[in-house]
Symmetry: D3
Subunit: 297 residues, 6 copies
């Protein structure tokens, strides 16, 4: 952006962020990073700066990421065609090795480097480090290989890192109770971490504006709803399949004590800042009790 | 200000503050609060919010204040006519009692309440608390009573308070080595405190734009100069009398290790934020080495 | 006192203080300082030394003070005649400003300086600092202006100071929930602080020997009574009006967990030491259970 | 091993380890893990148990690893033929991506899981996490791509982890001052980390018995030599090329304060335990002063 | 022992100790030291080395000792003939003085010196230090003088010492509620300390192999039994008189929360290490629930 | 003492102790306890109460004791006749065993119990605990057996105990570099400890009034002298032989940084309190510089 602003206006706008900064001072926010915001270079850089700003004003952001497109690309390079059943990647042993290498060895460290370039002290983790995420095989939809369901979160390493000023970046790979690696859904992992860490917010960055009452009517965006309402929508079958795990992650985390969960549009620059530091909440917010959305302290 | 801004622009502007927030994270800034910014209710409220914002983004602001006009007003109410010699208030015992009551009992606690209203935990101190400011009688211009020169700063109580998250607000009254109370210049007190606390910045809020090369030519504002240049200007006699103690406080503190000292225009809303968080430095900056004013980290 | 004592007798007397020193090691004592002990220079100096001694033998004394006579004197200087209704000062806005200036700016800092002169590290606070005392308007006797009833005590700042070795001196001014300043009864404030701080003792220094069963019969001094008995005496109407808020402060604090509350005669030199460190309790002691006054550990 | 031992003999042998356990209590040991010990499953498991034992008896082991064979294998799967110049892998951007994915995403997390299976709390790091290893392009042998030379070690994250009881496992990937990833020699990285961490020992696990005076004469194994002697051997050209970076890592680290550096035979089961806990040092030890090899405290 | 072992076998045996070291990391073990292990110089030295090993691998050993034979010897030197009633030493005032001098002044400090010679930081205590063991006169078998029954354990001093890295060595002398010294049974004292310290194990070193089902049949050694079974055996009268206080100490401590209590044969070299670090438990183990003796983590 | 005093006088006397309490707050005082004060029951009890008082007013008293008369008595009971050469006890192995048993097992624990009876938390140590006092054989006067000269003080255990609120009581037995026990002079041991602990004062309790300029003239008591003067007196040969080690302990400790050393008359009740808390210093004081004896802060 060219600097069209005069400094007085800049200062005034900064000043207006005070109530939001005050509200989130010291709070832990778990952010699922993904979609366009992870693919587009300009958006990516903006997200990194947003996270740095959040950290410097006293928020503890915890980043969780998957990396589906990069995995599929690497698989193709190695002559394997990706295959999905019910939205889940069929993950044989060789595929799991590629998943882990890409998520933990490439995507994760790429994010870490970008954050460090913004002056943070980021440290990459997979769910295998210090047994952060423990999983068992997911068999709800038959045997699709090393796809896991999280059964335990050991958040000690995250507390150690944040207490020492580091920003954890976590890839969605879990350690199985059998010692094998498991691919876990990153939205779900973020939700589980938000609960285990006592986070104030869970924020899922997506490639949609939010949740629509009618998926085909872009004017039906739901700005807020209760966990109970959201649960009913999931059960009603009216939700787009791709949105279901996201919405479930939100509902589960709110039911387990996270104050609010958000589905926001990662394609919009500074979507994190807009959600957190301005009067204009964006996307869809899921919260515990109905009709409750205070914006000022 | 009405909220004309769209949230995307707001977020972008916040994002632009990142380098400044990063630069001052954890830094101690001593701010002399005074002049119009202390008299005008709107400005006063804006300063309080600016201080709150500074605190929440990780800065330790230390406020120092005098309160000449309120003292004179109280004196008149009590039937005493204020008298000045060479810019210094003639301060007999009765006047000193009034000075102390007004500064410490009224002005100080008024600021404390406003800051607490903005969500801070402010605590008022005078230089007598825990012997924070120790003084001897100032005799440079003859005996004008209980006007003191600071000989010792015991900053322990300030460290105790800031370490526990409190914001200290300090009135310019010192304890004499003889046990009496002394009126000390608030600009000078701020400078001495900045040195004793290892502050990164000393900021004097005034009712002028800054230092002029030629006091009668408002276009001759000096945006930055070295301590050596400033010292020469003081000695040259070209400086307005009222500006001399301010400029000397700046030069002394920079010579004793404070990185930069600023004379800014407290009449301009959000002058503190403009100076600290934008690309547009305002007023006059005194620093150690010549020709040095980096604005980005 | 001339030193008539031989050193062996001095040592023997010191030695006899051991059980008392042992009993109060580490204990918090809230002391309402006022009356003659605050007006007479010799008594004042003796109290300061007594407090210093208490601190050095491991007691945490917390001083609370009002300052009625000084307020009235300042008001008269400013041409206002003090007015009382039912023992409470009618406190319009201008009066409140004078109250605050005198108590916080003069009386408080005077005590602080004297204590520091005895080698302590005293720090003055008003109830507005860090929102220590929060009040609402007292309307029990109609609208008499800025007279407040304490609704909340935030003792954090006192804990921070005592943990770091400072001795807090607190003036009886509270911050209103409406942001205004309120004049609160110092005996009551001391009682509320004693409860909030988990004090072992509340001691009210007064200008009487203690509580009389019959106010006109000086031989009817009550040396101890239970909170229940004291409550009955208050309700019976037999108590001198000026004594009522004192006795109520004692009864309330004992009912809320303070071990003992004392009304002692501040006109007697070293009354604090006599009460705390000798076998001869003085004045009137209010405690929870009847017939209980052990003097030795 | 079948349990042929009677318990008395077992206990006696344990007892004999006391002087060694005492000597290394609290010491940091940096271990370059590689070669056969990383490829053979039985050896691998034995190393993990050895590391667990070391940790439980009070040693802080820091593991550093490369993973050349796995990288070459992954490259071939992706249709790229590995190429080496002077022992260094020619590393174009695509190769670097594979290096990083394999080392950090596969090898590293595999070690982490095995250690955690032995009851440790291992955490994997690459040199990019918290800028642990910073490098510039290595140009000594022309431009062979993203091969780096370490210019800075930021050991803070390692201290944070070990202080909290975690065992760090570090892959030999560094962050460039230009933000790119660099492949660095794992022996060299281990040596630099040993210096930066104030390690007592650097241990390089290799696939040879140690350093031979005459490479063709297996009876010429050198059991110990000084750093100066080792430096002369490197300069003499008599050393096998593959051994040179290892020997240089040892010499450099000893010259920079590490007490002893060891080249040991990772093909021998429990080689770490034999070196550290028995009277029989194995392999080649490089130390500062000549003729000095005390074995008992 | 001559070093017959090759280093590979030594390392393998060390490696086999890992599960046991892991299991007891950080655990407190109270060990009653006595019998032959305290009289024979070779055994004594071996025990000291075993304790040092235990400390260095992360166990907190607490040593408790009596010293009957040395007491009797000293008494005879002073011309007093030891006398026992029901296994308890008849302890008149003069005898008690000898008991205390021998146990605390000779036996205790002898152990302390030997442990310090093995590189530990041992500190000797009697039950009188910081009122560690408080007793009343034991009158169950009539008045046999200053023989005490423990009524209170004040373990603060033990926690202070172990937290600072010291190894406490405690003699079985208690302070009476009447201020006199009391001789207490060392097995019982060890059991009481194990309970008060939350120990994982109580180990009594004796001069027998363990508990026999039939005292005359050496093949009837009981390797493990529950506290309930042991209680029944005590009550049945089938137990050798000398064994009764030992077995009772075990049963009481297990009933009060100690995981396991052991009666082991101190005549066997390294009996402590065999019990703790090998697969071959020795002696008799008393535990809470029946049929439960897992040996591997 | 019967309580003749009125409470006002008692309070006044307490109040006069303030300057002394303030001066010694937090100071470490090493006190050699011995002579009549250790033999006479009334004196003994008074000393214990004095030490308790000192501790409760914030002083860290460290007690060091010998116990010659009790040792000789025990020796005679065991049929050995005590023998002295040049004031030093001839100490064969058997004698050393008796010395250690009596000092550490009887005298030391007796003092510990008395102090604990006064509400302190005393812990007895010998110089063997944690290698507090290390000695070599004293051969200056030929071989008189296990008489030692202190070569090293390891004060860690004393710091651990005082930091946790315990009062250490130390017997004058040292551990030899050869592992044997050594009898060391308690005055000398106290002096060495005073230096190692950075004590403010060393106080030797004796059975004389102090140092006399002429031993036969009781009116020639020296109230203060410099270390240099004292050294000259020792060298002059004019000093009574029994006084020499005491005076040397004082001079050595003052030369090594202890502020003042005192020889006081332990036969006088409350001699410690008189010295420390009153205007009337007693006995003889040795200090660094001449003519310097300030009594008030």
């Amino acid at each position: 952006m060219t600097k069209l602003m005069n400094p007085d206006l800049q200062a005034e706008i900064l000043s207006q962020a005070l109530p939001y900064i005050r509200r989130f001072a010291g709070a832990t926010l778990v952010i699922k990073y993904g979609g366009a915001a992870m693919l587009d270079d300009d958006l990516k850089r903006a997200v990194m700066r947003d996270l740095a700003l959040m950290r410097f004003v006293g928020i503890n952001p915890i980043l969780v990421h998957g990396g589906g497109p990069e995995v599929s690309e690497a698989m193709r390079k190695m002559g394997k065609e990706p295959e999905f059943i019910g939205g889940l990647r069929v993950t044989d042993a060789e595929t799991m090795e590629i998943v882990e290498m890409v998520l933990t060895g490439k995507t994760n460290k790429g994010i870490v480097s970008l954050l460090n370039g913004e002056g943070l002290n980021a440290v990459g983790l997979s769910g295998k480090d210090a047994n952060l995420l423990v999983a068992v095989k997911e068999t709800a939809r038959g045997d699709i290989g090393f796809v896991g369901r999280i059964t335990q979160v050991n958040p000690g390493i995250v507390h150690t890192l944040t207490a020492a000023g580091y920003v954890p970046v976590i890839s969605s790979v879990a350690i199985g109770q059998d010692g094998a690696s498991y691919n876990v859904n990153a939205d779900t992992a973020a939700g589980e971490l938000a609960v285990a860490l006592g986070a104030k917010k869970l924020i899922l960055m997506t490639d949609v504006e939010g949740l629509y009452r009618d998926f085909n009517d872009k004017s039906s965006l739901i700005s807020e709803l209760t966990a109970a309402e959201a649960r009913r929508m999931v059960n009603s079958g009216a939700i787009d399949a791709g949105m279901i795990p996201k919405l479930e992650a939100c509902v589960d985390s709110v039911e387990d004590g996270v104050e609010r969960a958000h589905i926001i549009d990662g394609r919009r620059p500074h979507s994190l800042l807009i959600e957190i530091f301005t009067d204009s909440g964006i996307g869809t917010m899921i919260h515990a009790a109905q009709g409750y959305r205070p914006r000022l302290v």
